[in-house]
């Protein structure tokens, strides 16, 4: 028995046939039949030695548990049923058994599993001859073994089916792998496996987009029908498929001719009879369907349907995998295109630091040959290649290789000018798993633009600084000018009352003399003491009036200077030798100082540039300026010598001239007390003086400023360090006519 089972591992029928035969033999029956439970009914699947007419009647016949048949009674009771003569049994309702099968004595034995009948074995005799107890016992024991045999066979069948399914799936997967990204072979393979497994001669695979089913694989369909199906159809054309949309796993049509639909009729006309439509679902959504059809009316078995259902689930996964693969492939292609079209050059070195991937721009930016890249050089070889081709200029090649290899382990960014003059930016990013990605950007244009912007900015800043200086000068000039006007106004206002003071003071001295003359005879008559007192008072009055006159003259001098200042400069211009003019002013000032103070002494240093050709200017005014500056220098230098008593300090005054092309320069430098920074701005203001009262009017530099800047269009600047030196620099443009302002 087990031999039989193992011999026919994958088919139940031979097992059942053997069981029927053995059962008949064991109890000496003329005929035997075996039925197996299918749900609520029992179906006759194997017979032995039946009359042909009865055999064809019985085979495939089903019966329910009940008293009408022997099998029904066995199934109902789960016990052995023994009818000595069916013709005399009043409850027996299967007349064909007697008429067709010519049966009399019948024995029914249940095939029990866990107490319930999974099948029945029926043994019969053509004559009335009841089975012996021994025979019944033998069959009962045999039935237990039969159950085990059937069960084993069923398990083996299931195993075989499962294997088949897995093999089919594996084959589909193999198709997917062998044609990565291409869906068509996958569709074909899925359909092929589904169709052949359930013995369908024709089939199709459709994809569903929510509206239309489009045929993507057709097998065994007439040409025109295949074309039509490929174009697709809506579910509205095929109402019989609506359950699929509602969630049904499949729609099984035993005969398409019975479906009253245009499409169904068209299919039937082209030979489609039994048809199974299986839903392909992913996460509940309908993706498509597989149809398997037959050219005859032969409905699909539950097993076939179960297999296909299972397979459909696998097919969906396979299709999905194929779709994902294709997507990856497309994405890869897109990435490749993007990679190659990137503005940057990119090179990737793998964990072993070998060149793994690069793009076109990388090759172009660094002028690398196809041959060099195809060899997949190591990072070290790559750096060496660049170094020996002068990429880094004159360097120690191996030193550079070591340095850059070390740098590649860290994230860094740098810029470099290539031998061809292009500027590139290099960014290295280590890859987490090892390796490095190096990105090269050609930033030549950016650098140039930046340089241009920088230059433009510098120019703008310089212009702004110039403007500020000019503005400062303008403000200074404006201040000076308004101060000059104020000065003139003040001078005029003071002049008249001062005239009265001076005139009346002078007159009073005269009047006092006349008084003394006139009063002398009278005074002479007075006593000595009174005379002395009168003389003393008159003497004091005279003294006072003289003092008034003296200070009046001083005030008058100041007013005169102020007026000269405000009147501006009207001196005529002529071409003069500036060096001579400076030299004369120096001599004049020196002798003037000596005349005032015999002890005055100073070292004079001249550095007069012979290139200073004759220049047109107002010589008288300019001499005043030089006298002023030189006089100030003398004062400061000797003041320092006197004040501090510094040993070794020798008062010195340097005067130099220099030709500047479009202008000339005169410098007057003393090694005197210097000027404190906080008062430097006030230097050129009228009445500003550091000299003690009476020694300076505070107008010298103010007048000099006007002469140099207003009359000659030049500039006058001062540089000084307190306790060390003061240097005035005058610049006069040669083209004084245009620059100068005539006032």
């Amino acid at each position: 028995m087990l031999k039989v089972i193992s011999r026919s591992t994958f088919d139940l029928q031979p097992v059942l046939d053997t069981l029927v035969e053995t059962g008949q033999r064991l109890c000496g029956a003329d005929q035997a039949a075996l039925s197996i439970r299918e749900g609520d009914v029992f179906r006759c699947l194997a017979t032995r030695s039946l009359d042909p007419a009865f055999d064809s009647f019985l085979r495939g016949q089903t019966f329910a548990p009940g008293s009408e048949t022997v099998g029904g009674r066995v199934a109902l009771a789960g016990e052995v049923v023994h009818i000595p003569d069916i013709t005399t049994d009043p409850d027996y309702r299967l007349p064909e058994a007697a008429t067709l099968g010519k049966l009399r004595t019948v024995l029914g034995v249940p095939l029990l599993r866990e107490g319930s009948a999974v099948g029945t074995l029926t043994l019969a005799r053509r004559r009335v001859e009841p089975f012996t107890e021994r025979q019944i016992e033998l069959v009962r024991t045999f039935a237990d073994q039969a159950v085990i045999a059937i069960e084993n066979a069923r398990l083996l069948t299931e195993l075989r089916e499962s294997l088949e399914q897995q093999t089919a799936t594996a084959e589909v997967l193999q198709v997917i792998n062998s044609s990565p990204g291409e869906l068509q072979p996958v569709f074909e393979a899925i359909l092929e496996k589904a169709r052949t497994h359930c013995g369908a001669t024709r089939g199709a695979l459709y994809l569903f987009d929510g509206e239309t089913f489009s045929g993507v694989a057709m097998q065994g369909l007439p040409q025109d029908w295949a074309e039509q199906r490929r174009r697709g159809f809506s579910v509205r054309q095929t109402p019989h498929l609506e359950p699929l949309l509602a969630g049904a796993p499949f729609v099984h049509i035993a005969d398409m001719r019975l479906i009253d639909e245009l499409d169904a009729r068209a299919a039937a006309e082209r030979g489609l009879r039994s048809n199974l439509s299986l839903a392909l679902r992913k996460d509940g959504a309908l993706l498509g369907l597989i149809t398997c059809g037959r050219s005859e009316v032969r409905p699909f078995s539950a097993k076939e349907i179960a297999f296909l259902e299972n397979f459909a689930a696998q097919a969906v996964i396979a299709m999905d995998n194929a779709r994902l693969l294709e997507e990856i492939r497309r994405r890869q292609a897109e990435l490749r295109v993007t990679f190659d079209n990137m503005g940057d050059g990119v090179a990737m070195f793998d964990a072993e630091l070998r060149l793994a991937a690069w793009n076109r721009n990388f090759q172009q930016i660094l002028d690398l040959t196809d041959t060099f890249l195809a060899a997949r050089p190591s990072l070290a070889d790559y750096i060496r290649h660049l170094a020996t081709h002068g990429e880094y200029g004159e360097v120690d090649v191996e030193g550079e290789v070591r340095r850059l290899l070390e740098a590649a382990g860290t994230q860094y960014s740098t810029e470099r000018t290539r031998p061809d003059g292009r500027v590139i930016e290099i960014r290295a990013n280590p890859v987490p798993g090892g390796g490095v990605v190096i990105i090269y950007s050609d930033i030549t244009e950016r650098k140039r633009a930046e340089a241009e912007i920088r230059a433009a900015r510098d120019a703008a800043e310089a212009a702004l600084a110039d403007l500020r200086r000019a503005q400062d000068r303008l403000i200074q000039s404006e201040k000076m000018a308004s101060l000059g006007q104020l000065t003139a106004g003040i001078a005029h206002e003071i002049k008249n009352p001062l005239n009265f003071v001076n005139n009346f003071a002078g007159l009073s001295v005269e009047l006092l003399d006349e008084l003394k003359e006139t009063a002398d005879p009278g005074i002479a008559t007075l006593d000595k003491d009174t005379r002395a007192e009168i003389d003393e008072i008159v003497g004091m009055l005279t003294g006072n009036l003289e003092k008034i006159a003296e200070h009046g003259r001083r005030a008058d001098g100041i007013v005169k200077s102020m007026l000269e200042h405000s009147r501006g400069v009207s001196g005529e211009r002529r071409e003069v030798d500036l060096n001579t003019l400076v030299d004369e002013a120096l001599n004049l000032a020196y002798h003037g100082a000596r005349a005032q103070d015999a002890s005055f002494n100073i070292t004079l240093e001249r550095d007069l540039d012979p290139a200073v050709a004759p220049i047109e200017l107002a010589p008288q005014e300019m001499t005043r300026v030089f006298l002023n500056l030189i006089g100030n220098g003398f004062y400061a230098a000797t003041k320092r010598a006197r004040g501090n008593g510094e040993a070794g300090h020798r008062p010195t005054l340097q005067v130099s001239t220099r030709d500047l092309g479009e202008a000339v320069e005169v410098r007057v430098r003393d090694n005197g007390t210097g000027i404190a920074p906080e008062i430097r701005d006030q230097l050129f203001q009228p009445f500003f003086t550091t000299k003690p009262t009476g020694e300076g009017t505070g107008l010298g530099l103010s007048i000099s400023w006007d002469i140099v800047t207003q009359q000659h269009g030049g500039s006058i600047e001062v540089a000084s360090r307190p306790g060390e030196f003061t240097e005035f620099t005058i610049r006069l443009p040669r083209n004084a006519q245009a620059a100068g302002k005539s006032t």
Binding site: H492, K495, N496, L498, N499, F500, N502, N503, F504, L507, L511, D556, R567
Partner: protein
Amino acid sequence: MSVSILVVDDETDVAELFRQQFRREARQGTYVMHFASSGDEALNLLTEGIEPTLIVILSDINMPEMDGLDLLAEIKRRWSDLPVMMVTAYGDDQRRRRAGELGACEFLTKPVDFDLLKARLAQLPRAA
């Protein structure tokens, strides 16, 4: 035989100054001093007639209302032979030139140099 001098100045102290400066000449009867503190007053005095004979007018230029130059023009229009000396604190060329064009015989700057003034006066014809 005395002659008259007319001094025109809006500052009244000028009159006192001239009086004191010319006190000897006045005492000796050489000059008789007349004073006017505005152009209008000067013209009124001239219209009424000054005794003894007026030989010169000394006028300040800088005065409110009618200034010295306007006065000069008016005097020269009506008494063209009368000598006029202009006195001003502003010794600029423009005024000097203008005064000359209008017929002033002298242009003096303040402070007035009285010695020089007296010398100039002595040179004037003691006419009429």
